[in-house]
């Protein structure tokens, strides 16, 4: 199943990436080349096979634990914000969203 330039544009939008015409064209070729080998998967009979998300689920039941609902962290806002691109009075600054 070959992708089209429209597919590339659509996926790029979903992925919040922008690319110029040359980059898009390269991406199209590379992705189509890649999906050629992916076609092998279609020949495999997977009727009734449960998808495997957690590797050791093959030998064991994996139950994701919930931790106790207690506060375990202290307020370290300044430290946590030291790599922020734009901060003012402890708030992260972003372009206006609501008119």
């Amino acid at each position: 199943m070959a992708l089209t330039p429209q597919d590339i544009a659509r996926i790029a939008t979903l992925a919040r990436l922008e690319m110029d015409a040359a980059h898009s064209a390269r991406m199209l070729t590379q992705l189509n080349g890649f999906f050629d080998i992916v076609g092998q998967m279609n020949a495999v009979d997977t009727t009734g096979v449960e998808p495997l998300a957690h590797p050791t689920a093959v030998i064991d039941t994996v139950a994701l634990r919930l931790r106790d609902d207690v506060v375990s962290e202290s307020n370290r806002r300044e430290e946590n914000q030291r790599s922020a691109p734009a901060v003012e009075r402890g708030l992260f600054l972003v372009p206006k969203v609501i008119e």
Partner: protein, 508 residues
């Protein structure tokens, strides 16, 4: 002939530090200077000498107070995928060029508690995506055996640093082979443990169901010492970390010979006893020994396997029929998970924010497109596509189903053998820039390592000789779930009987 400080491994250094023959500060200063001497290798991305020396002084104080533990005072360095408070963390990307983490990764903290001294952050492929450390935004790392060649990836800086004796050990991460392959290409030892052994808290995430931290060093014993400190449950911070008690992976190695507590004594004693692997069945998957593997690599692997037979092991022919399928399966699942994990990089709270943009959506797009390199963008695109509406079932779900079949194939194989062996990489290290533009060709080189990652099994690479162009070849050992001690023990016996793992590149 006495060794120079940088030629000592972890166990040897720990013994000398414990005997107070040398101080941690001395070793640290020596290795920090050596790192600068060999900066052309591109192994290191960042240093914080003050922090390192403070750690060394603290270790010396603990030693002076009489404390003795296997890693106390020994230096190491961390792959730049582990966040650290005292140094920047870039994950090899421009996206995180100025990022300073407010916390240490669990693996970093555990090794620091054990008294290890962190010398700096090591180069890697961007967001751990790559097999050559040529996808780093900060320049390639180079193979000490031939500086025109890659050290492998994504833990290329870690491999280069250990092979060049810049550091006795380093941390790496392995998602599809990123510890095993660079270890193989640089002639060092590395292990990716069972999925969930080491906490992923503080490890910049690539593919959450595949990523695993592991040690890289110059012997199985050294790896065992580090893994014992790195592994362990971290339930409140990593819900995928397994609730298994901590294990001393080195105990079986040190006491496997005469009961001697000293690693050096044990080595000497062990060399006289050649049937240590009696009863061990080593499975050789026919899919790992077919076409596509370079002649020199095959020859080295065959010679290594003959050595295992001399040690008493039996070689058994097995099959892992879906080995080739592991390529599309991995390259669907890993990018899918990566596209989700990397969606957090939006220029809002951390990471690169574009200088110019019109509105919020434009800020996201520009920041991400400027911050991510081409390979990362490609994998995000693949991942986004296979998770999108209309394609999820045909690609992602299908891949996860085949993943289960691959894992089942291994369980079937382990009824016939105890450990699986084969090459790590179909070729020796290639020249920087040599790999083609064709993404498929590049991905095919991962064929021997991917299925182990998909199944979550532990896998090791140990030096097994040399192949084409005089470049190192690694032998892969794959174990069943939680069998790291058996893998390390098997590798250790091989390393007692051979000396590939002691070879150093010329000039290092």
């Amino acid at each position: 002939m006495s060794k120079e400080l940088h030629q000592l491994g972890v166990a040897e250094l720990a013994a000398q530090l414990a005997a107070r023959d040398v101080s941690s500060v001395e070793v640290t200063q020596h290795l920090l200077a050596r790192a600068r001497q060999h900066s052309h290798l591109g192994a290191y991305l960042a240093f914080n000498d003050d922090a390192a020396l403070a750690q060394a002084r603290a270790a010396d104080a603990r030693l002076a107070a009489g404390e003795r533990s296997p890693l106390l005072g020994v230096p190491l360095a961390h792959k730049d995928i582990f966040v650290t408070r005292d140094l920047p963390t870039t994950a090899g990307s421009k996206m995180l060029e100025h990022y300073r983490s407010p916390f240490d990764a669990t693996v970093v903290a555990k090794l620091a508690d054990a008294g290890m001294v962190n010398l700096g952050k090591l180069n890697c492929d961007e967001f751990a995506m790559g097999s050559g450390n040529d996808n780093s935004a900060y320049g390639p790392a180079r193979n000490p055996w031939d500086a025109e060649r890659i050290p492998g990836g994504s833990s290329g800086g870690s491999a280069a640093a250990v092979a060049a004796r810049l550091v006795p050990a380093a941390t790496g991460t392995d998602t599809g082979g990123s510890i095993r392959q660079p270890a193989s290409l640089t002639g060092i030892t590395g292990i990716k443990p069972t999925y969930g052994r080491c906490s992923r808290y503080g490890m910049v995430a690539f593919a959450s169901s595949l990523d695993q931290a592991g040690p890289m060093a110059r012997s199985a014993l050294d790896c065992a010492l580090l893994l014992s400190a790195m592994a362990g449950p971290d339930p409140d911070r990593d819900s995928t970390s397994l609730d298994r008690p901590t294990e001393d992976f080195a105990a079986g190695l040190i006491h496997s010979n005469t009961g001697a507590a000293d690693a050096t004594q044990a080595s000497a004693a062990g060399q006289k006893d050649f049937n240590r692997l009696q009863g061990l069945r080593i499975g050789l998957p026919k899919e790992f020994f077919g076409e596509g593997c370079a002649a020199g690599v095959q020859a080295a692997i065959r010679t290594a396997l003959a050595e295992f037979e001399k040690l008493g092991a039996t070689l058994v022919d097995i099959s892992l029929p879906r080995t080739e399928l592991s390529i599309p399966v991995y390259y669907i699942i890993a990018p899918a998970e990566a596209s989700s994990n990397l969606s957090r990089f939006d220029g809002v709270k951390f990471g690169h924010r574009a200088a110019q943009y019109t509105d919020l959506a434009d800020m996201y797009q520009k920041s991400r497109s400027e911050g991510f390199g081409p390979e990362v963008q490609k994998r995000i695109m693949i991942g986004t596509y296979v998770l999108s509406h209309g394609y999820y079932d045909a690609y992602y779900l299908k891949a996860q189903q085949i993943r289960r079949l691959i894992a089942q194939d291994f369980q079937q194989a382990f009824t016939q053998c105890d450990v699986i062996a084969g090459p790590v990489s179909p070729t020796v290290a290639w020249k920087i820039g040599e790999k083609s533009e064709d993404p498929v060709a590049n991905y095919l080189a991962d064929i021997y390592t991917l299925s182990t990652s998909l199944a979550g099994l532990p896998g090791m690479s140990i030096p097994a000789g040399f192949g084409e162009h005089g470049m190192p070849v690694g032998l892969q050992l794959i174990g069943n779930y939680f069998k790291e001690a058996q893998l390390l023990g098997t590798a250790h016996q091989f390393q007692l009987a051979t000396d590939w793992h002691t070879r150093a590149p010329q000039g290092f």
